[in-house]
Amino acid sequence: MTHDILLAGFGGQGILFAGKILAYSGLMDDKEVSWLPSYGPEMRGGTCNCSVCISDDPIGSPLVVEPSILVVMNTPSLEKFKGSVKSDGFIIVDSSMVDGTVDRTDVKSFYIPATQLAQDNDLAGGANIIILGKLFRETGIVSAETFKKAVEKVVPAKKAALAANNLKALQIGINYEG
């Protein structure tokens, strides 16, 4: 089983960090994993995406060109990548940042106002983790327990307060129905 995941949005939305949590979640489950960021001239607010592969087998190309799961946090990324998603794949959309919907019937699309939910819950910058919660809920690629371990691994001990916020954000995403 292989999950080819593509996360995309603006720089500063925590796309790379969300990808890292995902990759660590795979690692915690003893899977093969890879994480590959897009990189370019250093610029705040530019477009940003991140490929994450989680698999039972050694990973070939770490560059995800046909994602089985797409997470988008801005409109340009949805327009750019929605056509590349495999049939029966997933598209998870931050509906507070993205105008429009997925016009494909062969993929499973989910919408969550992650950025709005982050603001409502005093979790500034937590939209990336909220949307991950939704991803876990709908795809079941790893358990919430594994995710929790991954957060603890990625967030340094001296920033334990951040870990708590991340877990809270995750729960919001998992609980969200829509």
Partner: protein, 352 residues
Amino acid sequence: MERNLMKGNEALAEAAIRAGCKCFFGYPITPQTEISAYLSKRFQKEGGIFLQAESEIAAINMVLGAASTGVRAMTSSSSPGISLKSEGISYIAGSDLPCVIINVQRGGPGLGGIQPSQADYWQATKALGHGDFQLLVYAPCSVQEMVDTVTKAFDLADEYRMPAMILADGLLGQMMEPVTFPEKKESFKDKPWAANGHGGKREHNIINSLYLQPDVLENSVKARFERYEDIKAKYAEAEMYLTDDADIIVTAYGATARVAKSAVNMAREQGIKAGLIRPITLWPFPVKEYQKAAETAKLFLCTEMSMGQMIDDVKLAINCSKPVEFYGRTGGVIPKPSEIFEEIKKYNGGAK
């Protein structure tokens, strides 16, 4: 051992520390700057030496100075910066000094781009500076293998008193994968030739690449080439994947080999007998592995992130005894497994 996720560039840096590297001299260039950033932090705590030089030229010459005194020294850069280092690398080779140079390749020529590329193959294996000389060139294809080859590169560089290169690319440098590290190396080969102060206990040592008498210079170059023969016999390395019964041998190194392997797997699922040869050393080139495969294979397909550079060595290795076709993307474009699979299908028909 605990597996941790680490960026390729940072893993290269940590691997150097584990291999006993005592100093690093570098200059910022994308996509390898994490190596400098990591070592500037770690060497402060480790008691090693990190220095950001005024240029790539200065950095490689600082490596020459440090290596002259017998310590393990390293520099890293990306394609345009390696061109600047080529003068110093020639002097290092001519002075029989060990060191490790990392090239996290990006697209060229000129300023080119900053996305992954493999267009420096010729430079690394044939012409990294003026004069008759070679570097050991390792071409890892995963973050873990980058760690493993850094250790090998330092050890062999010391053993044969020559520079060694890790030829990576932007994809390997930027990606994260699980990785484990060896214990830190503490004991090293003696270097009685080092210019670190004779202390009144021996004749003075001279580190030098100047020989004004042609016959003396010829002898020194010949002696170096005799060592090269020894290395060729002992240290050429390649991964052979499903090659025993393969009709089509795909061959690729580094990041492209990962893509090619996926394509080979796709071909096998379709009943096409494809296999992969992945050189791990580019110099010495794993000639025997290719020759063995050529006994049964019908066709070779060389894939690179370039316009076709390694393909020359593949043809030479098998003495052009089988057709060698090429598929490449360049300028920073990473080929997709499906593209290479299409090529395999094309030649599978053609090979019948």
